[in-house]
């Protein structure tokens, strides 16, 4: 045993991200950490990395209790982490990013630039990627950023390597290379912790696993005792089908039409229609460009070409205001950054998209503002203490409900939802699904982006697969299955 957690708990305000979770990593073995979105995987990793200090419970290093006061401590103890969100320094060169914190130095402590570059080149060669170590990290694609992160962790000669969804943005060949490298590391005695939503990868790479659900510990043991199906059941904790109460709705007329929409370097010639009552899902790998398409449709990004029409009427490009007037609503993927003003109150947030309707002669009628918030809080069964509390104190799922309230109160004709259930607990997730389904039943056209295939399969009437900025397949509900979608999304057959 190299490093272990014993009955660790961690809360963020009302959110209990980890509840008495234990985990043991052993030298020379790869351990998988499994769980749905928001199960607490990244939080657990951040505890191991010294980013978060546990509220209770213990961290054991070589069997002895230890404390990581900062990431520096964890690093010094030989723990290297690849975080879910890339943590690169855009202004610095790729080589320097890889070397940061352990620059090769000459006598007198001066940094050896040549050695630094060679090191990066050597690591990239091991990973079989071709990134110029001298270029600035800013502007790297998500996949390249992830590769730099991996190189960074490999370069640190750590005895514990933790990877939070390193493969999410990678293509088949790159994943294969990574696995080769991880295998070699294991043989040299490193302990590996691996997080991925791709179950087959997990079975290929790991010998043991721990499953979390809603921050709680569910199961830990050797993977050969499990099958992919049984693991998923452990993760979800209930039958899959019951999760997605999709109502069958007869699709109405076309509401949203997107024609040859292009944003240079991001996506090209994207066209599709969404009908009233229909849920169209955009599927694809992380970084495929789905969010970018949604942003351009809504107008927060200005497309370089193409048009967006609502009920046949073209809307002005690059203007969220115009999109909103035409009846589009947009629940963005990054709730905390894009969806909410965290410091502002629940009612302010709920009313933020409706200010024009709530004010007369420019003055906001605060009574109407409050009643709007209260009505929707009741309708969405929001759990809150006061409407004047900042949304920051709400749990993730409740925050997402506030974002939904913000848009639903405008009664949109088209609702775009990007990762609507990311980081939301299972119960709330089902509720969100019920809500979307009801909205569709009421005739709203819904464009849904989701990285969770079960969600896509359960909710969508039609699935549009995006790969590298282009739509590569359209599948009707009946013909959509996991295999087809993954095949279209990766361009590679699942092995």
């Amino acid at each position: 045993m190299v490093i272990a957690l014993a009955e660790v708990s961690k809360s963020f305000g009302a959110v209990r991200a980890l509840r008495e979770v234990s985990l043991t990593l052993t030298a020379g073995r790869a351990h998988a950490l499994l769980g749905e979105n928001g199960a607490g995987k990244s939080t657990l990793i951040k505890v191991l990395a010294g980013v978060h200090r546990p509220d209770s419970g213990q961290l054991l290093l070589d069997g002895a209790p230890a404390r990581f006061a900062s990431p520096a401590d964890a690093k010094a103890a030989g723990v290297a982490v690849i975080y879910q969100e890339p943590t690169l320094f855009g202004d610095l060169s790729v080589a320097e990013n890889v070397a940061m914190g352990r620059h090769p130095t000459r006598r007198g402590g001066m940094i050896d630039v040549a050695a630094m570059r060679e090191q990066a080149e050597e690591l990239f060669a091991r990973l079989g990627v071709d990134i110029d170590p001298r270029r600035p990290a800013r502007g790297l694609s998500i996949a390249d950023q992830q590769l730099v992160e991996i190189a960074k962790a490999l370069g640190s000669d750590a005895r514990v390597i933790i990877m939070d969804e390193p493969t999410a943005a990678l293509s088949g060949t790159e994943v294969r290379r990574l696995f080769g490298v991880v295998g070699a590391l294991r043989e040299h005695g490193a302990a590996v912790l691996f997080v991925s939503h791709r179950i087959d990868e997990v079975f290929e790479l790991c010998q043991e696993a721990t499953v979390l659900r809603d921050g709680g510990f569910v199961w830990s043991g050797p993977l050969h005792e499990q099958t992919p199906d049984s693991v998923v059941r452990l993760m979800v904790g209930r039958d899959l089908d019951a999760l997605f109460p999709k109502q069958e709705v007869a699709a109405g007329e076309t509401v949203l039409s997107v024609r040859r929409l292009t944003r240079e370097g991001v996506f090209t010639d994207v066209s599709f229609d969404v009908k009233a009552g229909e849920i169209l899902a955009l599927a694809g790998l992380v970084g495929a460009g789905r969010s970018e398409i949604a942003r351009a449709v809504f107008g927060v990004d200005k497309p370089d070409g193409g048009q967006v029409l609502v009920r046949g009427k073209r809307i002005r490009a690059g203007s969220p205001g115009a999109a909103m007037s035409a009846g589009i609503g947009f629940v963005p993927e990054d709730r905390r950054q894009q969806g909410l003003v965290l410091d502002a109150s629940i009612e302010r947030n709920a009313a933020l998209a409706s200010l024009n309707r709530l004010s007369r002669l420019g003055f906001v009628r605060s009574r109407d503002e409050r009643s709007l918030a209260r009505d929707w809080a009741v309708k969405l069964q929001l759990k809150f203490a006061h409407l004047t509390d900042p949304v920051a104190v709400l749990s993730g799922g409740n925050q997402q409900k506030v974002v939904l309230a913000k848009w639903l109160s405008r009664r949109p004709a088209v609702l775009i939802v990007d990762e609507p259930t990311r980081g939301i607990d299972v119960g709330t997730k089902a509720e969100v699904h019920r809500l979307l389904s009801e909205l569709a039943a009421q005739g709203v056209a819904i464009l849904m982006i989701s990285s969770e295939l079960p969600e896509v399969l359960g909710m969508a009437d039609r699935v549009l697969v995006v790969r590298e900025g282009r739509t590569v397949a359209e599948l009707a509900r009946a013909e959509a299955d996991e295999e087809r979608i993954v095949l279209a999304a990766t361009g590679v057959a699942v092995a």
Partner: protein, 316 residues
């Protein structure tokens, strides 16, 4: 919100303390009508500019060029007066020029996406430079009393200076604008989370452009007040005032990171600083004490919330 209220109460207590101690130390001079009249005049320009600047800082931007706009407008008044323009035409004209200066700041910040700190350090030099180009080293002083009385005499029968009336009017306008209108909600949202504001359909760039333009216009109005008050149009009028205004706004509890602050707090801060200055000078205390106290108050304004936050976190 609660924390802010607490800060404003602290300012209010401070203000009362200044009034009480100031009166005691000056033998009652501090609270006389005459002294309050001069206090009102003294804080006039800072108070005026602080209003729109509060909105700018709440929107997480900053404008350091305000004092230069004031100087430019003063210089223009002098030049145009010398050129024989009637004051009735000069005053609206300089207000428009001030608005344009503000709009230029706004343009650079919103259209070109430049950081407002750097932009307005640049226009701080540019506008002051233009003021010098326009009027040179001259001082123009032969303005008629019918106008200068607005800057030098109280409203007949009272001790209220005319600029205070202007200030109260604008304070109401800006207070309502920030705290009661959709526009104000947008300003807060932009300051707290610009991206979320954009994703909510708020026209971020236009809002900021309006804020900078307003700041320019009010700064030039302050230039008019300044010129009339000192009966002296000069290019170097108000040099260095920008830091005093920023200090007042920050002391008023407005977060430099945006998203937080009230007009009321800023008004209190302006009064605290002005009252302190008047009391100290009346009590024959040297200005160095004022400089020191201003700095310490500013540090307190940022440290107090940080410290209380840490304390409350420690207990919960």
């Amino acid at each position: 919100m609660k924390r802010l209220l607490r800060w404003e109460s602290a300012l209010f207590v401070l203000l009362v303390l200044i009034a009480v101690i100031g009166s005691a130390a000056t033998g009652g001079l501090f609270l006389t009508g005459n002294s309050l009249f001069h206090l009102g005049l003294d804080v006039g320009e800072i108070a005026l500019i602080a209003l729109p600047l509060t909105l700018v800082i709440v929107a997480a931007e900053i404008d350091l060029s305000v004092a230069s706009v004031l100087g430019l407008s003063s210089a223009l008044i002098g030049t145009l007066w010398n050129a024989g323009w009637p004051l009735e035409a000069i005053l609206p004209f300089v207000l428009v020029v001030g608005a344009l200066c503000g709009a230029f700041n706004g343009f650079l910040v919103t259209k070109l996406g430049l950081p407002s700190l750097a932009v307005t350090i640049g226009t701080l030099a540019l506008y002051r430079g233009l003021a010098l180009v326009v009027l040179g080293d001259q001082a123009v002083a032969d303005f008629p009393y019918s106008y200068t009385q607005f800057g030098t005499a109280p409203i007949p029968g009272t001790w209220i200076p005319y600029p205070m009336v202007l200030f109260v009017l604008l304070a109401v306008v800006f207070g309502l604008l920030l705290h009661a209108t959709a526009f104000g909600r947008a300003v807060f949202a932009i300051g707290a989370n610009e991206e979320a504001a954009r994703f909510s359909g708020i026209r971020v760039k236009r809002t900021k452009l309006i804020l900078f333009t307003l700041t320019g216009a009010v700064s030039s109005l302050a230039g008019v007040v300044y010129t009339l008050r000192f009966v002296s149009a000069r290019a170097d009028n108000g040099t260095g005032l920008e830091l005093a205004v920023v200090a007042a706004v920050l002391l008023g509890g407005v977060s430099i990171f945006g998203g937080r602050g009230t007009i009321f707090g800023v008004i209190l801060a302006v009064l605290v600083l002005g009252g302190l200055r008047t009391a100290l000078i009346l009590g024959d205390t040297s200005t160095e004490v004022l400089t020191l106290v201003t700095g310490i108050l500013l540090l307190a304004s940022v440290l107090a919330p940080a410290v209380t936050k840490r304390l409350t976190r420690g207990t919960s």
